[in-house]
Structures are given as C-alpha cells and as structure tokens.
Amino acid sequence: MQRSFIARNPSVLIFLSLLALFTLVVTVLSEGVGSGLISTSFIKTLGKTLCLCLIAVAMDLIWGFAGILSLGHFAFFGLGGYMIGMWLMYERTRLIVVDSLSQTEIPPTEAEVVDAIGTQIFGVVGSSEFPLIWGFADSLTLQLMLVVLVPGLLALVFGWLAFRSRVTGVYLSILTQAMTLALALYLFQNDSGLRGNNGLSGLQNLPGVTASQDLVSLWFLWASAFALGAGYLLAAWVVSGKFGSVIRGIRDNEARVRFLGYSVEAYKLAIFTLTACIAAIAGALYYPQAGIINPAEIAPIASIYLAVWVAIGGRGRLYGAVIGAAFVSLLSTWFTGGQAPDLPLGFYTVKWVDWWLVLLGLSFVAVTLFAPKGIGGLIDLIAQRASKKETGQ
C-alpha cells in the first residue's frame, strides 16, 4: 500500500534522468570515446562541476533544510581531496622511484625505496622523512576510508563542541569560518606534513593506469555523476520523512522541537556530520580532476561562495542547489578564464576577470532581495502553473 520512495517524489526521478542524459550526451561528444566535440579539459570542468553540485546538495541539507549556515564545509571538501591525494601522490611516486632504481645494478632495499619516495615528495619543503599522517598512504583502501573518516571525525568533534554549547545563528557561521581558516593556516605551514603551500600535485595521473587523460577524464565524469546521483537520492530520502520534518522544524522553531522531546543538538550533529562526509566525497572526486590541491582551496571565501551558489539556486530545494552550483561555477569559469569578451563602454572597458566578482555580488544581493527562493523558486512556480492547467483550474 505504501508507494515506493521514487514514485512519491517525481522530482527525484526527473533529476536522475536528466543527470543520466547529461552524462550520456557528454560521453558521446567526448574526445575519449565519442566524436571529440567536447575537449578533454572541458570534460574535466564538467566533472568538477558535478562535484561542486554534490557539495551544494550537502550545503542545502545543512543550511536550506536544517537552517544551520555553515561557512566551513569547504574544509571537509578539501580534507577529502587531501586524503585521496596522499595515496595518488605516494603511489605514483613509488612507481617512478621503483622504475628508476631498477636500472641500478644492486636491487634497492625497502628502506631505500621509501627514502627515495620521501625525498621526491617532501624535497620541496626541505625534508625527506615521512610524517606520521602518511602512515596509510600506501594503501588505497585505507586512504579511501580516511576520505570519509577524517572530515567526518572533525565535523563530529567540532559540531559536538559547538552545538552542545548552543551556539546558533551568525555565531555558528563565524565559528565555522574560523575552523576552515585555522585548518588552511595550519596546512600552509611546511611542517604540517602535507607540503605546505605547494599542496599535493600531479593528482590527475592515476598510478599504474596507462590510459590517456581523454579516457581518465571520462571515468571521473562518470564517477562524479554517479556520486551526485547517489548523494541527491540520499539527501532526498533523508528530508522526505519525519527526519526531514524534524530538521525543518529546527530551522523554523528550535524551541518547539526541543519541547516536543527531540534532542535538537543530536539532530544538528547528525546532519552536520553527514553533510561533512558528503562534502568530503565530493572533494575526493574533485581534486583528481583538478590535478592539484593546496591550502588556498579551503580558504574561508570558498565556503562563502558555496553559500552564495545555494542561495542563488534556491535554498530548501535540492535541485535548486544543483542548478545554483552548476550555473554560477560554470559562469565563473567562463568569466574568470578570460573567455568572456571585454565590454567596451567608450570611456572604460569592463574586463570581466576583474568585474565578475562585482557581478556575482550584485546578483547575490538581487536574489536575496527580490527572489529569496532563488532559481529553484522559479521552477516551482512553473511546475505549479503546469499542474493547475492540467487540473483545469
């Protein structure tokens, strides 16, 4: 008698179909297996955009549904990237080192190999010792688990401290900004163990894989699309039932939820940690496509951009978050990549590289003032009109 979850939520089905269609079309037009109409570098941009859409879904869960304006979720995104980056860099360097050492007459010892890898990776920060945190870097399985565990644990501890003290509203936003800033500053140090401001690089090369980047970029596009689909489905399921009711209740009236007997803090912690894990997975898929990660990626401003995407796309609507992230980040790439033609005004020439941020800021203000439901709100309006026509009202 209960209909399936998908049947009760047609928008989820529509989204998943569109995502599948998008992936298929891009694949057919790609250089790797298709006609070559879309360049490999643009495939990577699209794949990265899908990852940004995934973290936007997480942001919408925590902000749009639970009302917690976290301005630190890019810290989790970045940490996820670092965790997978450690394995990618270690393993690739190891293969190179083993290869070059095999030319020598005496076979190298285990210690010599490790030493050579250490020199290769940490030479730029004047060290050759492996820091403790690289202990699992030789195991893909363990490092994949750390992608979720490290950011998840950070979110759990940070969230527990913050929510237990009943820090809410703008104070919590400031606290999350402080968290991401502190993490970025720490990682900037050369002795943080993650190569300071050099970050981890060469991540686009999968160790032991001889396939061309044309193909690898497609694999990552597919993986990103799959992750976005799964994340979207999970998020839609989480908010569809009573849990969704409770967190929306926390957003609209925290005291009422508390006096109904729900432990508000536990719910906040659960949703904070869950979204941190989703953000981390998105980051772990993003940085192999970007090829490099450094501490500048988790600067406080990154998390603020994330909030802007979700606000423009429409809070409290999962598809709104996806639209906002895709639309704004692609537009941003276009404007700041120097592709947008300059706008001559006679007395002054508008260079979009400089003026894009102003445009973004203005559109954020405009959306906040005139369309608080964002682009997603427009879609709702169209959907309502259509259903009214159908019922003949």
């Binding site: 008698m1 209960q2 009711s245 005291a255 009422r256 006096f259 109904l260 729900y262 432990s263």
Partner: protein
Amino acid sequence: MSMLLEVSGVSVSFDGFKAINNLSFNIGSAELRAIIGPNGAGKTTFMDIVTGKTRPDEGRVIWGEKSVSLLKMSEAQIAQSGVGRKFQKPTVFEDQTVQENLLVALKKPRGWLAVLGYRPTVEDLGRVDALAEEIGLTDQLSRLAGELSHGQKQWLEIGMLLAQEPRLLLVDEPAAGMTVTERQHTTDILVEAAKTRAVVVVEHDMEFVRRLNCKVTVLHEGSVLAEGSLDHVTANQDVIDVYLGR
C-alpha cells in the same frame, strides 16, 4: 491525592531581581489548574523552570510516582518524561502541513536514527485523524500550518501537545487574541484534556478562567498569594489589593 508535580522552596533571580521567591505548590495527576497573577508575577518563569529552560538557584521540583528531580534533566528529557508545553505565541511548523505537524509530535521514539527510518503506519495516521477531530481541524489536515488562522494555530499546537501524550500540560495564555466562539472551543479542548491528565493554564483573562471552572493559584512577586476557587481568591483582600484592585 497523589501528586504529579511538587514544586518546593524554589527561588530564582536574574541580575538580582527575584523572579521566583520561595515558590511551593503541588499539582495532582488529573487536575485542571489555572495560574493567574499580574505581569512579572513569575508565571512564565515558573513554566521555564518546570520544562528545564531555566535552572533555579535553590529548591526542588519533583515529578511523578518515582519522585525524580526534573532539575537534572534536559528540556528534551523532561518533554519525553511527559511534560508538554504550549507557548504564548502559537508555535507550530508553518512550513509543514497540519498532518506533518501532528505526526512529528506523536509519541514515538525520539532518537535521530529511529526517526530516520520511520514511516507512518496506518495506525499512526488514524491517531492523527482522531487528534485532528479533537481539535476541530479534520478538514485542514493537508493545509500548511502557516495558512491557518490564529485560533486554529493555537488549537494545532494544543493538538501537538496532546499527540505527545503528556501527563502534565502547561498552557500559556491560550485564549489571547481569540474570538468568543474560539474561546469556547479552547475551553472545551482543555477541560476534556484535563480528564485524563493534569493541565495547568496560565491566564490573564478572568472571564476565561471562570469558564474553566477549576482551582486557581494566584502568583505575586514570585510566590503563591492565594489558592482556591475563583470566587474564594477574588474575595481575598490581598488578591484584590495586588491584582484586581488596580
């Protein structure tokens, strides 16, 4: 008579101002009680203490047959143990339907994991229908709570409290801003609820208290000034001086 809630010797002060001063009183397990008093008499602070929002400086608040102290419990734990609270301003989840509001309030496991997997059973939906009928919102179930009138929101909130199946219901000025017919309906709901549980109504409005037809406690400057039937307390000279005389 066995006592459900015993408040004894409770005092609390904010920045030197004694909001509650050595307050003691008891409520039985199936009793309707009205608390009246002028502004600043400590009525809302009393509710804050019982529901765990405010910690008193001294005194005891003892609850139920097992005589547990409410002072060491969190708001959520107190609510789960059977204390329901209605705010002065109607507080419902405006963005959700009446049915969703009632479903969230239903007495069910409150942990987030249990809630994540919860889907309403036929029985639960039946219970919601029965509650909606009790508060007179049967034909509003699928409407958003934000679209309801002021009075309907107040009833919905009372319905949500009843859904929790509390043993003690604390109601803060339920009749404020209601029309005469709405007041009558509210009185009916509260009197009906008090047949199976304790209901404490904090109220300003004498006419409404008279309709409730129950024992009245008069608070003044954070302690009990008089207690008894409405006619009894309104005849009390102290009460006339501090409250009615002005």
